[in-house]
């Protein structure tokens, strides 16, 4: 019997949905090992976050409140989580496969000489795990052989854990000091948007090279996003071309999303893009090239000039609402 520790990353005093997804996976793993599921909140001035974490559905929340951990940089976070795992008798540590999770999890695995599986999409009853490889062309069943295990969980792969109740919160007293050669935080330039967060959105409008320019990308897609209350996403090609910020990229090396409704506009559908969106519930594609691979994963495809079809679609969605 061993416990499962789930890293509760946070920003602006709240915990993202990705943590509830990691918690759901953590609970499944704890069910197999017969242990408890414990959320770990690390940071500086985290009372509010701890309170939010207590309602997410874990058995317990532990906190490490320390000024040195303010920016959740990997080196100090590893020290904190090592201490939290020891204090809670956790042999499995779970992360959401977000940029923070991917930064910290492998480092923690090395620190603990643990086995690691990144970006897992499934947990089998025998304890083996599923994870995608080769841009999602292959799903491997893997076994982690070390006693201590670290996993990161694909944020679309599990339904978020059901919240409710109020788990007890225990503040761990841990001495944490950044080593002399620790990384130092300089600045964070956040992408400002009134739209839903891409990885949490129920609807996504995503654009590709077919939009031709940054101006047209905005002019054509923003009204459709507004009409649908959707998040905006993009293919790698248009991010590389500078049409939109980097953090809107969907695909193998960008974000993985699975909204209820995904519009692929002017996106041909390279395998690397499909890897990031093909688990969406309903996929709609608009592209003038009828041979575009995106149509092979679309529920509804429209072969049309997007510059005419999308404004028409936007008007008709508005009228239907």
């Amino acid at each position: 019997m061993s416990n499962v520790l789930v890293y509760a990353e946070h920003a602006h005093g709240s915990v993202p949905k990705a943590v509830s997804v990691a918690l759901a996976a953590g609970k499944k793993l704890a069910g197999l090992s017969g242990g408890q599921t414990i959320l770990a909140v690390v940071g500086s001035g985290i009372d509010e976050v701890a309170k939010a974490a207590a309602g997410l559905g874990a058995d317990k929340v532990v906190t490490i409140d320390n000024a040195a951990a303010e920016h959740a940089l990997a080196d100090i976070s590893v020290e904190a989580l090592k201490a939290a795992a020891a204090a809670t008798d956790a042999k499995t540590i779970v992360f959401a496969a977000t940029s923070k999770g991917k930064d910290i999890a492998p480092r923690l695995a090395a620190a603990l000489d643990a086995s690691i599986a990144s970006d897992i999409t499934g947990i089998n009853d025998d304890g083996t795990l599923q994870r995608p490889m080769w841009a999602g062309n292959v799903f491997a069943t893997v076994e982690l052989s070390a006693e201590t295990k670290v996993v990161s969980v694909r944020t679309t792969a599990f339904d978020p854990a059901e919240g409710g109740g109020e788990a007890p919160v225990e503040a761990l007293s841990v001495e944490l000091a950044a080593p002399a050669n620790a990384a130092k935080f300089v600045s964070l330039e956040e992408t400002k948007s009134d739209r839903p967060v891409l990885t949490e959105a129920e609807r996504i409008v995503s654009g590709g090279r077919g939009l031709k320019s940054a101006e047209q990308f905005a002019e054509i897609l923003n009204p459709l996003c507004d009409a649908l209350g959707a998040a905006l996403g993009a293919s790698r090609a248009v991010v590389d071309a500078g049409f939109v910020p980097n953090d809107l990229q969907i695909g193998q090396t960008g974000k993985v999303v699975a909204p209820t409704l995904y519009f692929a506009i002017g996106i041909s559908g390279a395998i690397q893009h499909l890897a990031g969106m093909k688990d969406s519930k309903v996929i709609c594609a608009i592209n003038k090239d009828e041979e575009a691979p995106i149509f092979s994963v679309s529920d509804f495809g429209l072969v049309a000039d997007l510059f005419q079809a999308v404004p028409e679609l936007t008007e008709k969605i508005k009228a239907a609402a």
């Binding site: 492998p106 695995a109 292959v138 330039e189 953090d247 093909k278 529920d299």
Partner: protein, 250 residues
């Protein structure tokens, strides 16, 4: 200044990847092998640092099959000074990180740059693990690297979920390259000619005294669940109707 970069041998990202008939690997027939695209970006960045500093040395390392010599020659043709190939089989990310640590200890570089992930196993682990084992700071997923004038630290801008984060790492440090750090150059013909004469050292993983027993074992591989293609609609009206009454998502 010395910079160590990695060059994993992976299938070309344009390749069609299929699970083999025994379900324990991929169908390798007809695959073209290349330098992992993220490692190519790492090599390019190392070369740019070298060009800016004037006196830097770039060492490119590959850990894997002996055929990875081809990928090291690509790195040398791009402009790296010398190469190290560590040969071994069935190495997981943990084993690769431990081997890389041995090479780093031997070479004492100021910076190690790896790609943020290899496009075959998509693990995104080796850089972070190596940094931890070395006790070095890390800057992952970077899109900009600025080395301080006194060469004691580097300012790195990272691609994170909500935007761009900038951190400063004292050197030596380990950095992992994201897509938009740079556009890798192509090897020139003179570069390719020169690369043939550049030193390429070969080491057997077994000789390094590292426990490479895998900590993650692949039991089986399967293709992803197929998504059934839907249908082509003829007009925007038909699309809206389908989304409303058929898919019920509007």
């Amino acid at each position: 200044m010395k910079i160590l970069v990695t060059a994993k041998r992976v299938p070309d990202p344009e390749s069609t990847i299929k699970v083999n008939s025994s379900g324990d690997g991929i169908e390798e027939a007809g695959i073209k092998w290349v330098v992992n695209p993220f490692d190519e970006i790492a090599i390019e960045e190392a070369l740019r640092v070298k060009e800016a500093q004037g006196d830097a040395e770039v060492v490119v390392v590959s850990i894997g099959p002996s055929e990875a010599q081809e990928q090291l020659r690509t790195g040398l043709a791009m402009g790296a000074d010398r190469a190290i190939l560590v040969t071994g089989e069935n190495l997981d990310t943990s084993a690769v990180a431990k081997i890389l640590v041995k090479i780093v200890e031997k070479e004492s570089p100021d910076i190690v740059i790896t790609g943020k992930q290899a496009i075959d196993d998509d693990s995104n682990e080796v850089g972070q693990m190596t940094a931890q084992l070395l006790g070095w700071p890390q800057a992952t997923f970077i899109s900009e690297l600025k080395i301080a004038d006194d060469k004691s630290s580097a300012e790195c801008t990272r691609e994170v979920d909500g935007g761009m984060e900038t951190i400063s790492v004292p050197l030596p440090a380990l950095i992992t390259a994201d897509l938009r750090l740079n556009e890798p150059r192509y090897a020139s013909l003179p570069g390719i000619m020169k690369a043939r004469k550049k030193p390429l050292e070969q080491i057997e993983a077994a000789s390094l005294g590292v426990d490479t027993t895998p900590k993650i074992v692949i039991k089986s591989m399967a293709p992803p669940p197929a998504r059934e293609a839907g249908r082509i609609v003829e007009s925007v009206d038909e699309l809206v109707t389908a989304l409303q009454s058929e898919a019920k998502v509007l």
